[in-house]
Symmetry: C2
Subunit: 155 residues, 2 copies
């Protein structure tokens, strides 16, 4: 059975609106290993509108953000020879996010985000993302993720 | 009386989740001229969590995105010698968005976004944003906005 990386975040850092399993209000995005890559899928709600008929850019940025932090945890565990899902995942936060909106993203279609590791260091991971609506590439992401400071979780 | 630029978007393109006055589900961000700059304010909900106590990055990206499209409309009107609020605003969409997360953004504090025009051309505007939580600079944005294609609104 596949385990989403967000389902292995420690309980005290699993409340992210975008991807925390303990945030009932949020999107609960799930990110999985997919060969050498990572994958997340999400179907926006009808009210996640930009111009009518299209997905608003803030949601796209949010999905790329959380997909990237999840991907960073997956890539970091792999770099350490650990199987994602086998133990609590390391928690990354975003330092820098870039989104290129390549084409209007239609509403009513499942979005698929595919992540690729650009760089994996001790406390920093860089992830590139391609987001597809059906077969069409609609957005690209570039994110720099850093290990969450322990102080941020009040530990 | 100050008029938010989003309150002068044409009805058929006023449904953005982030800033559309006709989207009852959304954030309804409002952006105003502020001297040579622009300003938006927003207080996140308690569930807009990243790590508990802090605002999630996707919301910050969303606010910067919509603040930038609104700012682009204001800067474009000014460049044409028009007073923002005096007539329907031109509608911009985001082509490229960058966010630098400089410090964790505390929940429970009003956020203030200040926009500056970097470039104003016929169909393209570039906006830099600084986002403050209280007095603290917590994030920076850089956005490239383009005039919405008429076809996108089905016109």
């Amino acid at each position: 059975m596949r385990i989403a990386i967000q389902d292995t975040y420690p309980d005290d850092v699993a409340h992210c609106y975008g991807c925390g399993r303990l945030n009932p209000h949020g999107y609960q995005l799930k990110t999985y290993p997919a060969g050498e890559l990572t994958e997340s899928r999400f179907t926006p709600e009808p009210y996640h509108t930009a111009i009518p008929g299209f997905v608003y850019g803030g949601l796209i940025a949010s999905l790329i953000d959380c997909h990237s932090t999840g991907s960073a945890a997956i890539f970091k565990m792999r770099a350490e020879g650990k199987e994602p899902g086998s133990e609590q995942a390391p928690r990354f936060v975003t330092a820098h996010l870039e989104v290129d909106y390549l084409a209007p993203t239609p509403l009513g279609v499942e979005l698929r985000l595919v992540g690729r590791a650009v760089e994996v260091k001790e406390r920093k991971v860089v992830v590139d993302t391609e987001m597809f609506a059906g077969e069409k590439l609609v957005a690209k992401g570039h994110a720099v993720l850093v290990r969450m400071p322990e102080t941020m979780a009040g530990r």
